[in-house]
Symmetry: C2
């Protein structure tokens, strides 16, 4: 059998591994020795909790700074006959996270790629939002500069209204409060906004309100949700 | 503690439940008695395999024909103090499947909504595609009429090229071959197309090629992949 590149979802918050991956997938992860990971420290902790002896494992790093020409050596274990795992820092590898280039290279060299089911903050936010999940777009990060950001928010709101396409986006956690203020200043009163904060953690928060309602119930990004990861969803 | 509406992912193919949900989530499902499900037969089989005594469970149905005014009674268990589960036919409830209206109603009545991690054919296809997962859109079904369908394919290809937004869509399985032919007739030779067929099943197939390459390696939707579910992804 050909060695496989497994795409291994990782925890969104500090939860036991028995809340992250199905047990059959955990078993398969436990058979691996080679891993490409976004962040060594968190990957080691995750795999250790999954019952692997991390001291015996081989790790390579792949993150947003990895250049295309650095991908080739990362697949060396596959070429030597060993299956390996790709793990990003939180959630699904290669979705809103690095890894797509490595997956493409594995395809190109004819190695099977096997995605495992697991937590996706985007999908968990969308399914719990109560907003339209029949058509949606994930837009990554919005521009940082105020003018460009407001223009982008207006565009997304317009597209949502015109096409019925629900709009998802994220922000660097310490800027969540500023983004929320921009949304409330820029969007129509009737536009619905979902905040999905710190998903899967015991203190997670998911709420969908209109802009008008959020203005009367401002989320506390300064203290309560300080630097917590948040998925924003908008439906006009 | 308030009763909770759990959003429970379901299998994409005929696999053991230990390959679908994390064991902590399975434990929580086993404590439930009330379920709203898209399809009674498949939900019963799924829950039975998960170790529940289905004869003692209470089921209500929610599908694409359920009208908004029929949602209210479905949440009656929550109002009586019982947590309940929402299950769609395959994958995540309320994402490319019915359920969003029920989730919105639960929010409105102040009941916590808790999404569980699990298989999403869209995300598993995207992460394994090797295409851009930093920005993407799910477009549901394309139009059935030939003219409108080709126009839509052109639009999606154009948007992918202009905005760098990867485009996902699905088709009723018996029409997968016709859609693939339309894609090959309509798209530029350099456009990349991923087919993710029958995900999580032992015979699953994930492949990304350019239109030019696909024309020389046509997928066999007539026999081999006949009526198998397929996620299509396009990147210009």
């Amino acid at each position: 059998m050909k060695p496989v590149l497994y795409l291994i979802p990782s925890p969104l918050s500090d939860v036991p591994v028995t809340g992250v991956l199905p047990s059959d997938c955990l078993d398969r992860v436990r058979n691996l020795t080679y891993f490409v990971v976004e962040e060594l420290r968190t990957a080691r902790r995750y795999l250790s909790r999954a019952g692997l002896s991390v001291a015996t494992l081989h790790f390579s790093e792949l993150n947003e700074h990895t250049r295309d020409e650095e991908l080739y050596p990362l697949l060396e274990p596959l070429r030597k006959g060993y299956s390996m795992g790709l793990i990003s820092e939180a959630g699904l590898p290669a979705v809103a996270d690095p890894g797509a280039g490595l997956v493409a290279l594995a395809h190109k060299e004819g190695f099977p790629v096997e995605p495992m089911p697991g937590p996706s903050s985007l999908m968990m936010a969308l399914m719990a939002s109560g907003l339209n999940g029949q058509q949606f777009a994930f837009n990554g990060y919005l521009p940082v500069k105020p003018e460009a950001r407001r223009r982008r928010i207006k565009e997304l709101e317009k597209r949502s209204g015109a096409e019925g396409q629900t709009q998802l986006f994220i922000e660097t956690p310490y800027r969540n409060g500023a983004l929320m203020n921009d949304l409330l200043d820029t969007c129509m009163e009737s536009t619905r906004i979902t905040l999905a904060i710190d998903l899967t953690s015991p203190g997670s928060f998911i709420c969908t309100l209109t802009v008008e309602e959020w203005k009367k119930n401002k989320p506390d990004f300064e203290v309560k949700w300080h630097k917590k990861p948040c998925v924003f969803i908008l439906q006009a």
